[in-house]
Amino acid sequence: MDIARARPFEISVGDPILADLDVRLAATRLPPEQGPDGWDAGASPVYLRDLLEHWRNHYDWRVEEAKLNRFGHFRAEVRGADIHFIHERARNHAGGKPPLPLILTHGFPDTFTRFLKIIPMLTDPAAHGGQAEDAFDVVVPSLPWCGFSHEHRHSSGLFGVNDIWHALMTEVLGYEHFGAHGGDWGSTITEHMARSHANSVIGIHLTDVPFWHSLKTPADLRPVEREYVEHIQRFQQEQGAYTMIQGRKPQTLADGLNDSPIGLAAWLTEKFQRWSDCDGDLDACYTRDEMITNAMVYWVTGSIGRAFMPYFDVFNAGPQRWIAEAVKQKLGSQAVPAGFAMFPKDLSHPPREWAERFFNVQRWTEFPKGGHFAAMEQPDALARDIREFFRPLRSLQ
């Protein structure tokens, strides 16, 4: 039997890529500082100017790269894709059962770096104010089209990632049962996985209700649900331009973003600024190093265009695809226990009643602070919620 093997991997960006980047940063033509102040019309010119200065004079990729490499990185050929992932085993684990394996799935415009802060909180809870028996074996893959992962061809796209993840966890890593957590595209993929691989997935923990449920509005909406659906529709009207361009014209947008580091950073940080609990001040939530490293993962791998694939997949999924998904949803399991961690400044605020239409909701926590990127903004609170959600499920292993 040909079982794919994981190969250790170290992030090591070639010197020519960094030298070329230096040239581009030095030659950057920032747009003239005209128009509305602040972030009103996109990226703040003042923030961009300061970020560029930091990138040129203070940011050191080799230092950040070494920090990233403190984690155990691997690659594996899985279902026609070369998947990059972090695999960190539990430490100081106690209790009768083996540690629970947990796969964390990121979204856009973040990368696997979304989860760097919570990895140690999950692998070694005892060292982070938690209980030793809550330890996890943690797997953090890069989406197949993002960063150091690579698809040989874009076949099943967004809708097939859950199968790749399942194969990664079972065939490559040999875990029979595992938990899953995700946000943004990560929550969609995690939901797909619970539906299609319910025998393996003992529980899912999400920071949002996958948006696509709101594409169909049931007739019996309660007032709180109606409020949520209307909010989503307003969001799509007011802020949905990025989904349209990334879904309809990914090439046209990527042509500029893949050729201009500051342009890439502007496109990505604009989302962080809007969707984080930062009172408008991005620096209050993220260090500039964090924002630059997130952009660097897209830049050094030249993957910003491919990163738009889930948007393209959704916009171009014909009726056949949606019928197939509906069938999968009907045949698939909705029994997998689900936990939700909701953060107030996320881009939508679904009520529990809405989530209960689609999930076996076992836990629902509303936090006082945090936004779309809770794993980066409120790592302690999120890690605690994940540990507590999975605690009663560990016996299902």
Binding site: T252, F308, F312
Partner: protein
Amino acid sequence: MATLASTQPFRIGIPKQVLDDLQARLHRTRRVRVLENAGWKGGSDPDYLDALIGYWRDEYDWRRHERELNQLAHFMADIDDARLHYIHEPGLSVRSVPVLLLHGWPDSFLRYRLTIPLLAGAQDDYADDLSCDVVAPSLPGFAFTGQVGAPSEIPSIQTSARLLHRLMTDVLGYEQFVVAGGDGGSAIAQSMAIQFPASVIGIHLTDIGWHEHGGTLTDIEQKYVAAVQRKFMEDGAYAAVQMSQPRALAASLNDSPAGLASWIVDRFHSWCDSPRHLEHSFSKDEMLTNITIYWVTQTIQSSIYGYLAEARQPSLGMGEHVDCPVALALFPRDMTGALPRRLAERTLNVVRWTEMQSGGHFGAWERPAEFAADLKGFVVSLADPLGQRTLDGYRARKAV
């Protein structure tokens, strides 16, 4: 009222270091292919763009095009705090009617490069041998005009209309004139007609812009409006971005010539006469001269701010009606298909309706002879009753 308005001749002369820098960027372009064998499916065709960038880098000669452009008479007017670039070619006939030609996005005054001599030249075809005094500006926010007004300000359609009215009256001394426009130029032409009915004797449009429509629409009109909305959902992502987060986009387009080219080419491809034969309408040289003008003037950001301004405060409200004579010259391959005349008549005093045989959104550029003939026909029809006054106005200016 004392007016601060003056003008002086202008020549386009891009500094060598700007061109050298552009060349260096083209050499280090980092291309990306999002989809396999995509063609134009996911946006700009990577094969076309590769070829265009290669041509830009290896063969395109800006200096040659610059010399050609400088054969037209360029001026730079100072109007209060604003500097306005325009081409001014007086008509060659004894009787000449001033015509203001307004381009749109993402084109430039180049839209009218080939029509200017056709309009200004004396022709025997017309019994009264009438020509046009042609004024073709770079719109506020665009090209050599660039940003106008305070740095924090985004000029609205109305503001641009007022500035262009001052150009025609205070700077050039025309009392009355015709305005022709397409795309954003159509909206400005309509705003000028509404704000300055005494000055604007007629407007000639290649599209109706985006005037808000009230009242109950007929079935045909509803179908058209629905088709426009469908088109927006399919092909309007560029506008959605420009309306809501122009600055997140402009950071890359102002730093990457390839990105800028792709963004602009995508529109020309969608809106040209035949997308399968883009180069029949626009040669690489024409395409690149337009793109290079955006690049060297660093105006992509200010040029798309208009979308943000319109999204926040639409310039042409439901109650506003254009009362002066309006001519519509409609090109069949423009983005929204066949316009119902009834819809146009809800807000415009339509006196002339021409359906062209071919051509797209940039019809004045793609079909200069047909466009010029139609515009001139409209001007002739207006000039009969008004010709003498117009002529007097023109003589008065010459005497200054």
